[in-house]
Symmetry: C2
Subunit: 153 residues, 2 copies
DNA sequence: CCTAATTCCTCCAGCGACTAGAGGAGCAAG
DNA sequence: CTTGCTCCTCTAGTCGCTGGAGGAATTAGG
């Protein structure tokens, strides 16, 4: 460790924040994280403020905020005299989106549960799972849009 | 209409199934939907079986099944004498994933609700929303992975 | 001081599941 | 015959990363 106190390598920043190294570089590339100074050898050298920013980003991503929303939130954070109405609006919008998502996933769960329960574990020709998928009319699930299958956690 | 009865253009297939035209071509490209015969002029001509397959795919996508899972389900559907254990397993796995997702979104909703409620609508410097995002320690949300913000419906 | 292991650098490609646009051909109706 | 719609192919872009190649720099051990 030749570096000054309070300076961190990208690897240390990654371990401290829980954001992977390539992701940190990606955040820099898209301008979400400022380009840090470099050491003589050309390596990124982060300070405490950068780590805080990174933690902020990580937490916001965990909460499902999009990069563009986070960009706005970070700008707001940098200007503490401004009204926080904008931050409030972003959070509120997101809350509404999350609620819609929960509602649709709950409907989905019900349909999947019915599929699985109805399955008699015999042949495909009499399988509820296949049957319900083949015939939308048979289910109570009406027309949400698409859901991502896997998604986070 | 010069085409034989029971034959449909890609546009008609799209309207009938609710899958967009470019998406149908995409499904063909990735081998999810068989390449249909073409008319003299080179246009795709779909039959009733294709429409049924497309409806199956659409429904499964609405239910959040991934393309690869759908590919497996379609193969199963084509062999009605096989055991449906595989289909059952896919649906069960997906149900578990959906349940996990609901649980994490519910935790998320709670945190977002606390953020929004705590906001005093004053300046950014004392905004709960910004504050909670900046300090993970302040919240009860512990370490799920990432969630997609928008996603389906 | 030398070496080996680790970490870092840049650049480019790929994921999933589409979506959008360019540029052109076919085809049905007026 | 022209208008306007649909269709064709092909390419590139979306979002938020993730991974690999190929090489330089640093660190730890001997």
């Amino acid at each position: 460790m030749t570096a000054a106190a309070g300076q961190f390598t990208i690897g240390e920043a990654a371990r401290a924040s829980g954001v992977k190294v390539p992701t940190i570089r990606y955040y820099e590339e898209i301008g979400l994280l400022p380009s840090p100074p470099r050491t003589e050898g050309g390596r990124r050298s982060y300070g405490g403020e950068d780590l805080r920013r990174l933690a902020f980003i990580r937490h916001a991503r965990e909460l499902g905020f999009e990069i563009e929303a986070i960009r706005t939130l970070l700008r707001l954070q940098d200007e503490p005299d401004q009204s926080c109405a904008a931050a409030d609006a972003i959070a509120r919008d997101h809350l509404v989106a999350v609620e819609r998502r929960i509602a649709s996933l709950t409907a989905l769960r019900a349909e999947l549960a019915r599929m699985v329960e109805g399955c008699s574990h015999g042949h495909v020709s009499e399988c509820r799972v296949i049957e319900i998928l083949a015939d939308h009319g048979e289910c109570r699930h009406h027309h949400g849009g698409r859901l991502d299958a896997a998604g986070g956690l």
